[in-house]
């Protein structure tokens, strides 16, 4: 934690007139300080990256800039004037547009209807032909082909993103914010997006790219502001930056490969076997394509990859949350019934889910209820629950895992992210699992909580649990895993040894560049 923290004042000056500036922005949510005195500014014609880990406060900051949230403190300046952005309409009027990570498109409307939605200049009586032509012109100007008359639900994810960008441009945005724009794109689509971004900047637009991917920052942006733990840490010019220097700012410490955890226990027999599993995604199409892997007792197998390449679906498939269309998942040689979470639980698979607030716990119920979420079947006499036992066990868990809470009857929703994750871990470990599937276990947590969670994961492996760690945080995967499997487009792109692999090697696999020396799968 002893890294230098350059001050914003040391940042290179903005290359042109200031298009937008945010000063001293603070935003609190119940139990969370999402932004803490954040400041940064963007010039006209500049591509500015907002870099930070998941949960660093990037998205909240941008939701404030787009009028969706209102800051508790601080001021926003657009074109040299202080503005109050009380609603998205104010932001749009001020020339600020945003492409969200989860697209804000109306599925049942056409592309052109979505593009003009909310526009004040559109005539009262809609003119479809004129609208179609206008959308065609925009799509040509920005090099983004898409059929104006297609319904949104018929489009690919990449095409939907283009519609979002066209929407923002059409509404006269001078400042365009892109939230994790490449998370859902193929490399080709991403390259095309970067070209579009450059075209826009050349025309004098300011583009803010929110990301936690270092190579994107270096590739596309002019300057970068780094956020960490809700605070703005530094603004630097991209020209002088390296991946290492940005990573140090973002993580707040140098990545220390020596801190890697090495197995203390000998690695045992194969416990979890995944053989040729294929499963459909939420939007149709196969999200998992014939994935095979195995995890041994006492081993941590890390799954790396760019978000949206099938990692979430893999976690769900292994834990029975998602039905398979082919292949099997077996524990100690026993194949599991597909699409049945209870079968996975019975077989000894513990699961720390990605969405801890709505999947990992029932948020309105008490901590005690949430700790009993899986064990209640046995903590009962006939149909009746042993409430005393459940409460006593919850009290024990709260103490053992150091959950900060007034008591076991407190609603889970009032816990902070770290304490909530402790409740989930307490429950999952208490079942004495043979397999642990941990998906994004530290997303959105503060540094201290991350350390704690990492400690528990290591401890699980030391207790001869087979751990499948799925994370978009490459450092985390590198630090904790015995082996790393990289996923790309729903399939295994390759396997690497974290002791010898370089970040570049893994990066190529993550980008889908196959045929490297990185080696195949076992």
């Amino acid at each position: 934690m002893s890294s230098p923290e350059p001050h914003a004042s040391a940042a290179p000056p903005a290359p042109g007139t200031i298009a937008v500036a945010m000063r001293g922005i603070t935003k609190r949510f119940p139990g969370v300080l999402a932004n803490d005195d954040v400041s940064f500014e963007v010039a006209a014609g500049e591509v500015h990256a907002l870099l930070g880990e998941n949960g660093a406060g990037k998205t909240t900051l941008m939701n404030i800039l787009t009028g969706l949230y209102r800051p508790d403190e601080g001021e926003i300046e657009v074109g040299g004037k202080v503005v109050e952005l009380a609603s998205p309409r104010d932001a749009i009027a001020a020339g600020i547009g945003m492409v969200h990570q989860h697209f804000r498109l109306v599925d049942t409307l056409t592309v052109s209807e979505n593009v003009v939605l909310g526009s004040r200049t559109e005539p009262f009586l809609l003119n479809r032909a004129a609208r179609t032509r206008e959308v065609e012109l925009i799509s040509e100007a920005l090099h983004m082909p898409v059929d104006p008359d297609a319904k949104i639900w018929q489009l690919s994810v990449g095409e939907q993103q283009r519609v979002e960008i066209m929407k923002a441009v059409r509404s006269g945005s001078q400042v365009l914010i892109l939230d994790e724009p490449t998370a859902v794109l193929t490399p080709q689509e991403a390259r095309q997006l970067f070209r579009t971004i450059r075209v826009m900047a050349a025309e004098g637009h300011s583009v803010i790219v929110i990301t936690h991917k270092l190579h994107e920052v270096l590739e596309v942006s002019d300057r970068v502001t780094v956020l960490r733990g809700g605070r703005s840490i530094a603004t630097v010019g991209t020209a002088g930056a390296t991946p290492e220097s940005l990573a140090a700012l973002m993580v707040g410490r140098d990545i220390d490969v020596a801190r890697r955890r090495e197995s203390e226990s000998t690695i045992g027999d194969v416990v979890l076997t995944v053989e040729g599993i294929t499963a459909a995604g939420d939007r149709g199409g196969d999200a998992l394509k014939s994935v095979s892997l195995s995890v041994r007792a006492g081993e941590v197998l890390g799954i790396a990859g760019v978000a949206g390449n099938g990692q979430r679906e893999l976690a769900e498939a292994v834990t029975g949350m998602r039905a398979l269309s082919a292949g099997t998942v077996s524990v100690a040689g026993e194949p599991l019934k597909t699409g049945d979470p209870r079968a996975a639980i019975t077989a000894g698979i513990a699961h720390v889910p990605e969405d801890r607030m709505h999947t990992g716990v029932a948020p309105s119920l008490s901590i005690a209820s949430n700790i009993a979420l899986k064990s209640y079947r046995t903590e009962a006499v006939g149909p009746f629950l042993r409430l005393g036992l459940i409460r006593k066990r919850a009290q024990e868990m709260i103490e053992r895992y150091d959950v900060k809470t007034p008591g076991p009857e407190t609603a889970a929703r009032s816990l902070s992210g770290g304490n909530l994750q402790k409740v989930v871990l307490a429950r999952e470990f208490s079942s004495e699992p043979r397999v642990l599937v941990a998906a994004a276990p530290t997303r959105g947590l503060d540094v201290g909580a991350i350390e704690t969670v990492h400690g528990y994961l290591r401890q699980a492996a030391d207790n001869r649990v087979a751990v499948l760690l799925i994370s978009e945080d490459l450092d985390e995967v590198m630090m904790l895993s015995d082996r790393i499997v990289v996923m790309y487009e729903g399939a295994v792109a390759g396997e690497v040894d974290p002791r010898t692999a370089t970040v570049e090697e893994i990066g190529l696999l993550m980008a889908g560049v196959t045929g490297t020396a990185a080696g195949g799968e076992t």
């Binding site: 001021e75 979470p341 639980i345 889910p353 999947t359 990992g360 209640y376 009962a380 609603a411």
Partner: protein
């Protein structure tokens, strides 16, 4: 120019005192609103309220009649509460009650020679079974085809009403009185005397057996929801279906089970109508009473707490009883419905205070050119 802006944020912790203060405040607000209406239309508010409460709870026999009016509402209220707690919006208690009445009267006709205890048990089982079966339809559609249960259960109310009409008015069914007069003036067969449910008399108040059954059902529902594995699963599913699936709970089965339970309770309400009060499958009377819909209001007033449902049913039942009693006299008709609606509206508004924190801020409108004060 600056306008006050109302900000509404979800409360992390529910304040206990609000749980009491809000219903009380809502009652007061509702009464003030009605008093204004009464004054505006030239009725003396205090005297009107006094007559209303006298007829509902104080006059000779008022409590007995209020309990009679409250009994079906307690059942339909419990039926709604059971389902709404799991966020299953079963508004089909109306039809489920009809089917309960059909089942209970059918079995009472079939077992006409049996003793009263046997008949009571058979009627309750018969009513619960048919009510559950009718409730199972929207439940199955919801569980397996993801069809919105609100509209399907509403539609099935009409189908149930038509079944009722068919049995009594347009066929020579098992339920219809097919004697000479019954053919001219269609009506159901009168049940044997042994099928009349007993009454528990305390002082001058006669408590219908059905009301006691409703209290028992409320107790069972409370135990079920707070003390059993089934209830635990229901709570989790109601709060977060994804968490329930994650924990390996069989969500679909629970949806069907809850809808059946809800239907069964409404069905017992139908049985109570047969055994306690009507003693004849009264197609028109049952349809005019709107027990099912009023039951949802009762459940909402009780915030879906089973014991509070019985109490709210007693309150609303009292109002309804007063409405019937005062119908002929110089009393504003429709006042009872207005009161019920007003009380519920005030409660719904008050609910906001329990669940959300409301604060009023001054806000500046639109972009300002000069630096403004920090809000």
């Amino acid at each position: 120019m600056s306008l006050p802006e109302i900000r509404i944020e979800k409360r992390l912790k529910q304040r206990r005192w609000l749980m009491i203060a809000v219903p009380l405040g809502s009652l007061i607000v509702a009464h003030i609103a009605i008093a204004i209406l009464l004054v505006a239309t030239g009725h003396p508010p205090i005297a009107t309220f006094r007559r209303l409460f006298d007829a509902a709870y104080i006059a000779d026999g008022a409590l007995t009649n209020s309990l009679i009016a409250a009994t079906p509402l307690a059942f339909t209220g419990l039926a709604a509460a059971v389902a709404f707690r799991m966020k299953l919006f079963n508004i089909g208690a109306e039809g489920q009650l009809y089917f309960g009445a059909i089942g209970a009267s059918g079995i009472a006709i079939l077992l006409a020679g049996q003793s009263t205890p046997v008949l009571i048990a058979a009627m309750i089982i018969g009513g619960a079974t048919l009510g559950a079966a009718w409730g199972a339809i929207p439940g199955l559609l919801r569980a397996f085809l993801r069809t919105n249960e609100i509209i399907t259960s509403l539609m099935l109310n009409y189908v149930a009403a038509l079944v009722l009409n068919y049995l009594i008015f347009d066929s020579l069914s098992y339920w219809r009185d097919t004697s000479a007069t019954g053919l001219v003036f269609p009506q159901g067969k009168t049940l044997v005397d042994a099928a009349t449910w007993p009454v528990l008399t305390i002082g001058s108040v006669a408590i219908p057996f059905g009301f006691l059954v409703a209290v028992a059902v409320a107790f069972v529902v409370w135990v079920l929801y707070t003390r059993t594995r089934f209830g635990f699963e229901t709570q989790v599913i109601g709060d977060s279906p994804r968490a329930a699936r994650y924990a390996g709970m069989r969500t679909r089965r629970k949806i069907v089970a809850i809808m059946c339970l809800s239907g069964a309770i409404a069905g017992i309400g139908g049985a109570s109508q047969m055994g306690d009060f009507r003693h004849v499958l009264d197609a028109r009377g049952l349809q005019q009473a709107n027990y099912g819909y009023t039951g949802i209001v009762v459940a909402a007033l009780a915030r879906y707490n089973p014991f509070a449902v019985v109490f709210a049913a007693f309150l609303l039942g009292g109002l309804q009883n007063a409405g019937y009693t005062l119908q002929s006299a110089e009393f504003p008709s429709g006042l009872v419905g207005v009161m019920q609606g007003m009380i519920l509206f005030a409660m719904l508004g008050g609910e906001l205070l329990v669940q959300y924190r409301v604060s009023i801020h001054r806000r500046a409108r639109q972009a300002r050119t000069e630096t403004g004060t920090a809000s």
